[in-house]
Symmetry: C2
Subunit: 202 residues, 2 copies
DNA sequence: GTCTATATACAGATAGAC
DNA sequence: GTCTATCTGTATATAGAC
C-alpha cells in the first residue's frame, strides 16, 4: 500500500493493471526474463511509476505472485454422499482439471519449487494446498476401509501419497512433451483410475 | 610451433578446468545467476580467456551441459536371468540410485525441462534416456506376462508409463521438501514396489 | 593462451518537474 | 500519480599487449 491520499481512483486502476500485467509476464517468461521495462511497456506506464507503486522489482514479484495464486484453491464440493471409489476418481479429476485450468501458472510455480527460489510465504501456501489434497485422498481411503468397501490392508497415508506422486509425475510429463510416448494423457489417467481402484477394492 | 604445442597442452587443461567449473556452477545456481566473472574467479582465469575458448556464454553453457550429461546413462547390467518381479524392483532401485547419485544436476535438468529453455540436442538426449528406461520397464512386464508369472491382463506400455510417472512424481517431491508429510521417501519406495508387484502378480 | 583495459548494453533504481 | 532524464551497477564481449 502506498501512502497517497484517497483521491487515487485512477492510481488504483493503474496499479491493478501493473499487477496483472506483471503476474502474466512473470508466469509466462519467468522473473529473470521479465525486465521492468517490459512490464512497463505492456502495462503502458513508465518504469518509474512501477517503482513508485512497488518498492522494488522483488516487491512487485511478491505482489504479483499473490495474484497468481488467488485461483489456487480446490472446490471439492460435497463428496460425503458418494461411494468412496467414486470419491477417489472425483479427486483425481479435480487434480487434472486444476492443472489444466491453471495451465501456465502451474508451470511457473513448479519452476519456483524446482529452483527453490520462491518466497517462503508462497512456498508454504503451495505446501498447504498440497497436503490438504493429500489428506482428502487419505480420508477418502480411510472411509472406504471403515465401510468395508476397500480392502482392510490399505494404508490411507501411504496409498494417498503414492497416488499423489503419480499425479505429480503425470503433471511433470506434460512439460516434457514426449512425442515418442505411445500413450496419450487421457488414456493414462484412465488407466491410473482403474489401477488405483483395483488396488483399493482388492 | 614449438611454443604453440606447449601452450596447447596447457590450454587444454585450462579449457577443461573452465568447462568443469562452469558445469558445476550452472548446475548449482543456474544459467542466469552465474556470470562469467564468477566462473572466471572459480576457475582462476580471466573472463577474456573464457571467451577466447568459447565464443559466447551460451556456447560455454552448451559445452558445459554436455559434460553434465556425460554420466547420464543407466547401467542395467544383465537382468535377463532374474525373475521378472525382481527385474522390476531392480529397475526401480536403479532409478532411485540414479537420481541420488546425480543429485544437483538432475535438479538442473528438470529446471530446463520445466522452463523449456534447454537446447534441443540436450532435451532430445534426456528424452532418449527417458524412453529407453520406459521401454526397459515395458519389456520386463511383457516378459513377465509371456512367462505367465504376471497376470495376463497387464498392459506393458500403460503399466510401464504409470510406474514411471510415479517415480517422476517422487523425484519431484524431493524438491518440494514437504515437512508435513508423515512419510519418508524410503518407506514410499518400498510401498511402491509392493503395490506394483501386487498389481502385476495379481 | 592469457592477461589488462575498455567498449557497449541494459538492468534496477532515483531525482525532480508537472 | 505520472512522467522524463539520469545515475549506478554489472553483464557480455572486444582490443590489443605480452
Amino acid at each position: 500500500m502506498n501512502t497517497a491520499s484517497e483521491s487515487s481512483a485512477q492510481g488504483t486502476r493503474t496499479r491493478d493493471r501493473i499487477l496483472s500485467t506483471a503476474a502474466r509476464l512473470f508466469s509466462q517468461k519467468g522473473y529473470e526474463h521479465t525486465p521492468l521495462s517490459h512490464v512497463a511497456r505492456e502495462a503502458q506506464v513508465s518504469k518509474a511509476l512501477i517503482l513508485w507503486h512497488f518498492d522494488s522489482k522483488e516487491d512487485l514479484f511478491r505482489a504479483a505472485l499473490g495474484r497468481t495464486l488467488e485461483p489456487y484453491y480446490i472446490d471439492v464440493g460435497d463428496l460425503s454422499s458418494l461411494d468412496e471409489g467414486v470419491q477417489i476418481t472425483r479427486l483425481i479429476d479435480l487434480y487434472v482439471k486444476f492443472v489444466r485450468d491453471n495451465g501456465y501458472s502451474v508451470r511457473f510455480i513448479v519452476d519456483l519449487i524446482v529452483r527453490q527460489s520462491g518466497p517462503d510465504e508462497v512456498m508454504s501456501q503451495v505446501n498447504e494446498l498440497y497436503s490438504l489434497f493429500r489428506d482428502m485422498l487419505a480420508q477418502a481411503i480411510e472411509r472406504g476401509r471403515a465401510t468395508g468397501r476397500f480392502r482392510a490392508d490399505v494404508d490411507p497415508q501411504l496409498d494417498a501419497a503414492l497416488l499423489l506422486s503419480t499425479l505429480d509425475g503425470m503433471l511433470m510429463e506434460r512439460f516434457i512433451g514426449d512425442e515418442k510416448s505411445p500413450i496419450n494423457p487421457e488414456q493414462q489417467i484412465e488407466h491410473l483410475k482403474q489401477t488405483v481402484l483395483g488396488r483399493l477394492l482388492g
